[in-house]
């Protein structure tokens, strides 16, 4: 009797745990099986082709990357600066347009979920439409250059900013709005003295965050002719000038890391 009592008793895991484990295992096996099917049906090149390709490209690539071309620095820096300016204007354009739209997608300002639906649907549509396709359309319509890229970024940013802005507006404290209404203020007073002061810091913070995203996006818009560092970069990629490519990559990465650091510092102080 005492022998039995002294035996260590490890309790069975609860049923929900067992079920989660079973589902997890099933999902893992299922995704591996799917990977094998995808690999078998995918149009992949033969290993020999990949390996001979690597043998041919890797030595010059290594030489170029271990010795970045200093002469490319001015070009890389200047086109990165243009990229930066494009991101500034694209973000501002998106911010201004989203500012207007966000009030048309905020439930608490429109008085209900149904009234906010068209605005919200429009924002989803804009957010899902790939930016680079917008850039292609604008390049074809207004010609190659920074303007096409800025337009594409501006329009695409509306989707993200409009959604975030309307979320911010829906989350404001209704107290000040009611106070101004109670003291006889009209809709315009409510908007300027109760809504705007509450949302402005968060708007500014998200605008900066979107700017960080747009700076990354702006580096690739040049691949379709929409201005910025992507244009000179894709030319050099076609000729495999790895020493110049590596210099441009260093400039891109350094620029993005520095701007990210500054921007996130400002954002921390804002909210």
């Amino acid at each position: 009797m005492s022998q039995v009592n002294r035996e260590l008793h490890i309790p069975e895991p609860p049923a929900s745990m067992k079920r989660a484990r079973f589902l997890g295992t099933a999902a893992a096996i299922g995704s591996v099986v799917l990977l094998i099917i995808v690999f078998l049906t995918m149009n992949l090149p033969s290993w020999e082709r990949v390996l001979t390709g690597l043998e041919r490209t890797l030595p010059p690539l290594w030489r170029g990357f271990s010795n970045p071309d200093v002469g490319t620095f001015p070009l890389a820096f200047n086109s990165m600066l243009e990229t930066f300016y494009m991101a500034v204007l694209g973000t501002i354009l998106g911010g201004v347009l989203a500012f207007g739209l966000s009030f048309l997608a905020a439930r608490n300002l429109l008085g209900g979920t149904v009234q906010a639906m068209p605005g919200k649907a429009l924002l989803v549509a804009i957010r899902t439409f790939p930016e680079i396709l917008l850039a292609i359309i604008f390049v074809a319509a207004v010609g190659p250059g920074a303007t096409a890229g800025i337009m594409a970024m501006g329009i695409h940013s509306i989707g993200f900013l409009g959604k975030i802005f309307s979320d911010v507006i829906e989350g404001i404290d209704p107290g000040p709005m009611e106070a101004i209404k109670a003291s006889g203020g009209n809709q315009l007073h409510v908007f300027f003295y109760a809504v705007v002061p509450q949302v402005l810091p968060e708007f500014a913070s998200y605008l900066l965050y979107r700017f960080e995203i747009n700076l990354r996006a702006a580096t690739i818009l040049g691949l379709v002719g929409a201005g910025g560092i992507g244009g000179p970069l894709i030319q050099r990629l076609q000729f495999r000038r790895w020493d110049e490519i590596s210099m441009m990559l260093i400039v891109i990465i350094a620029f993005i890391i520095i701007v990210d650091a500054i921007s996130s510092r400002i954002r921390r102080n804002l909210v």
């Binding site: 997890g24 995704s31 799917l34 990977l35 995808v38 690999f39 049906t41 995918m42 149009n43 992949l44 090149p45 990949v50 390709g53 690597l54 490209t57 890797l58 690539l61 600066l81 243009e82 300016y85 494009m86 500034v88 204007l89 501002i92 989803v124 549509a125 899902t128 439409f129 790939p130 680079i132 396709l133 359309i137 074809a140 319509a141 207004v142 250059g145 920074a146 303007t147 800025i150 337009m151 500014a204 990354r216 996006a217 580096t219 690739i220 691949l223 379709v224 201005g227 992507g230 970069l233 894709i234 990629l237 076609q238 490519i245 990559l249 891109i252 990465i253 993005i256 890391i257 990210d260």
Partner: protein, 276 residues
Amino acid sequence: MPESPQHPSAPEVGSEARSTIPAPPAGGRIKALLGLVIAALLIGISFDQTSFNLPALFSGAADFWSFLGRLAPDWSYLPAIWGPLIETLQIAYVGTFLGTVLAMPLIFLASANTSLDPISMWIARTLLTILRSIPDLLWAALLVPILVVGPLPGAIALTFFTIGILAKLGSETVEAIDPGPLEALRATGAGRNAQIMFAVVPQVAATMVSYILYSFEINVRASVIIGLVGAGGIGFLLQVRLNFFDYSAVGLIIIVIFAVVLLIDGISVWARSKLI
């Protein structure tokens, strides 16, 4: 005479009443003003340097609409799209899978509460920062000349990209866990792997699955466009049709891409809402 002391006191009462409305704090105002000035300067310089031309855009609006008219889709082209579309989804799947597998060790190396030592944590974090500062399309453009043109560089590009986002999101989640179970296991003398397996993984599993779905969503979006630089999928078809100025096919491809992205987004958002 008795009026004189009262008279000057009257405006005093008024000024006292007025002074009960406090002036807004000065520090915030000055900072906000400074921020506005800097922003305005930056915008001005940007306008100047990019020669961004808003009026020309409005005058070109007519051209723009007529161009959009030429994008009217040619539906007879639809059967030619399915093959590249499936390849696009294959690229997104392979990229997400390989990226997820490779991100796992990096997540634990980059998290302060599970890392081996400060040096390997710093290396892992720097690697992730660099991975994330290169956009998906740029990864594809870099890999196409190295690997053979087609879906392979696309899948590898998305793998790198996935590692960057997933490991960042993952290590943030791992750092936010309840430290109790971790300390309990440490106290029993469990090894590092056992600690991660039984104290960390159960706490983050659901969130991680949600993040994996999220990166699949992002990868579908990326996989439709990386073909523009030769990395396979429907974007490659788009590039070819663009080069031929075959705008009715381009219009159709854009519509199909939009529909697929919308569909995958919807499914993924629904699945994620079920998870957490």
